[in-house]
């Protein structure tokens, strides 16, 4: 197995992929969104409850590759209990990492940076970046009160009307 593959499919990621954390549906919830990757058919549903400006609880469900499942699983671990401004910072940091391969330093605690860096191997696989960002984009849509999004939508913009 070559290094790029080894970086991508680290043991931690494989474990998250096999047994994702916070898997399922949160009911009742305050925010929810469906995300899909039209290129490959992967779908994810994120449900969460925001209470007092914090993500009180969050779950995700869906079917997809090891990368999309692990990324969503790691995401739920990371954002649970966090204030919304920190969640937005993590979201931006993850998106930047997935597209550039670099983890931005500013405003991130060392633990957060490490958690996000876990998935930095994705940068060597441009065709798979959307697998890694699907869960995060769906969380973003839920926080923006959009009921659905796709990996083809522009960040921060609603999916165009048909």
């Amino acid at each position: 197995m070559d290094d790029a593959l080894r970086d991508l499919y680290q043991q931690t990621i494989l474990e998250h992929g096999r047994k994702p954390h916070n898997f399922g549906r949160l009911d009742p919830h305050s925010h929810a969104a469906k995300g899909s990757n039209p290129m490959c058919g992967d779908r994810v549903v994120v449900t969460l409850t925001v209470d007092g400006g914090r993500v009180a609880d969050i779950r995700f469900e869906g079917r997809g590759c090891a990368i999309s499942q692990a990324s969503a699983s790691i995401m739920t671990d990371l954002v649970k209990g966090r204030p919304l401004d920190e969640v937005r910072t993590l979201l931006d940091a993850f998106t930047a990492m997935a597209t550039t391969g670099e983890t931005p330093g500013g405003g991130l605690a060392e633990d957060d940076r490490e958690a996000i860096r876990l998935m930095s191997g994705i940068h060597a696989f441009p065709m798979r970046v959307k697998c890694a960002t699907l869960g995060w984009r769906t969380l973003e849509a839920a926080l923006d009160n959009q009921s659905q999004t796709t990996t083809e939508a522009q960040p921060g913009k609603q999916e165009a009307a048909r």
Partner: protein, 416 residues
């Protein structure tokens, strides 16, 4: 590999000789020899096609049907000779029944727009199968959205074969068209086209076949099939991308309105009126992909020069061998196991998602496709989000199947 003695490839077709005609197959990826098994998405090109493209641009290039000079005449001759090659390949009665399009998607849209749209009223039905590629679904959804057409879906059995009884029941006096694939791109299922066409014709319903895969593997004979419309695409037929064709019976073409407006498709244009050229030019507005058309002609000439029964036996051997190897492992699950199938093997694997499989085995040099294969209704039918698909061409060998299996075994180690 022991039980393969009964599946010997006939000598009249030598896959290694064919393979040597495809320069790209000699290259490596990630330091490994390439095993190219994504042929249903697009096939590689033989020297004969590459040379036709080179000559088309380097020696014989000018616009077609317009100039009166030497090169324009030459390029027009080559372009029309390519049309004649397509007609020969499909056994059409006349070259005028062949319309150049940008591919099968364009050919299917042409039928939807020029033939079907003016004839469809609200409540009229179009019969498809659950096997269709999105390119033979979405143009009909347009007619549903815009004109109230009703789409009827013929189901399949679990082995991927068409439910013939259910199909026949869908044919009613409201059915205006049957638009179905000749061979499924996702499962490899070959439809009994001749029988289905006879059923439809018995009720006066015309039939369109999407031959995107069928033309590659089945050497269709449009007159024997008695099919009304047949769509093909060049890049899957060992030819260039950006070119394809629609075969349509002359009686349909004569009755069809133009597709796109522009140069080349007119008889006369005044400020007040326009009259249109006869088929096929009525449907070919603007400067066509000239050299691509010539390249497609070269690809079909190349295919027609092969010992076709022997070539088909080779593909049959490949798919039989692949199924045999897959059958050795209970963690591999082929989709589409009917005996009536071509050289395409779609599968799922316990513990690993198709995307992860594809990314992983790519690094072993094995190129396959993972995803929904633009056949989402079919994926829903099997309740899978995606499959991994190995699709074979004339230049593939049993060794390619073995390399695929080796890569899958390594993949299994990581994900199981």
């Amino acid at each position: 590999m022991s039980a393969d003695a009964a599946l010997k490839t006939p000598l009249a077709f030598d896959p290694l000789k064919v393979r040597a005609e495809f320069p790209i197959l000699a290259r490596e990826v990630y330091g490994k020899p390439l095993v190219y098994l994504d042929n249903a998405a697009s096939a590689q090109k033989p020297e004969a096609v590459l040379e036709a493209l080179r000559r088309g641009y380097a020696e014989e290039y000018a616009n077609v049907h317009r100039g009166l000079h030497f090169l324009s005449n030459r390029s027009t001759e080559r372009y029309e000779a390519a049309r004649a090659s397509i007609a020969r390949f499909l056994n059409a009665e006349r070259a005028e029944e062949i319309i150049f399009t940008s591919g099968s998607t364009d050919a299917l849209n042409l039928v939807a727009s020029s033939w079907a749209e003016p004839r469809i009223k609200a409540g009229d039905e179009i019969v498809l199968t659950i096997l269709e590629h999105h390119s033979n679904i979405v143009p009909w959804h347009y007619l549903r959205e815009r004109h109230g057409a009703v789409l009827k879906w013929a189901p399949i059995h679990d082995d991927g074969s068409l439910d013939m009884e259910a199909f026949e029941k869908l044919l009613t006096d409201r059915t205006k068209l049957v638009a179905i694939t000749h061979m499924s791109n996702a499962l490899g299922t070959i439809l009994p086209a001749k029988e289905l066409i006879a059923m439809a014709h018995a009720r006066g319903i015309p039939v369109l076949l999407d031959g995107s895969q069928g033309a590659v593997h089945l050497r269709p004979d449009v007159r024997d099939l008695d099919v009304d419309f047949y769509a093909i695409t060049g890049h899957k037929l060992y030819g260039p991308s950006g070119i394809g064709a629609l075969y349509a019976k002359r009686e349909h073409l004569d009755a069809m309105r133009p597709y796109r407006g522009g140069g080349e498709m007119i008889r006369e244009v005044t400020m007040e009126t326009v009259t249109y050229a006869d088929p096929p030019h009525r449907f070919e507005a603007g400067t066509p992909p000239i050299v691509q058309a010539i390249g497609l002609g070269a690809a079909l000439d190349w295919m027609m020069a092969l010992d076709w029964p022997a070539a088909q036996a080779h593909e049959a051997d490949l798919i039989a061998y692949a199924h045999e190897r897959f059958g050795q492992f209970n963690w591999l699950h082929p989709l589409g196991t009917t005996a009536e199938k071509g050289a395409i093997l779609s599968f799922t694997m316990d513990g690993a998602h198709p995307h992860d499989i594809s990314t992983f085995i790519d690094r072993q040099g094995v190129a396959v496709r993972a995803g929904h294969h633009c056949a989402q209704p079919l994926m829903d039918r099997y309740d899978v989000p995606a499959t991994t698909r190995a699709s074979f061409a004339l230049y593939n060998t049993r060794e390619d199947v073995d390399r695929l299996m080796d890569a899958l075994l390594k993949c299994r180690e990581l994900f199981a």
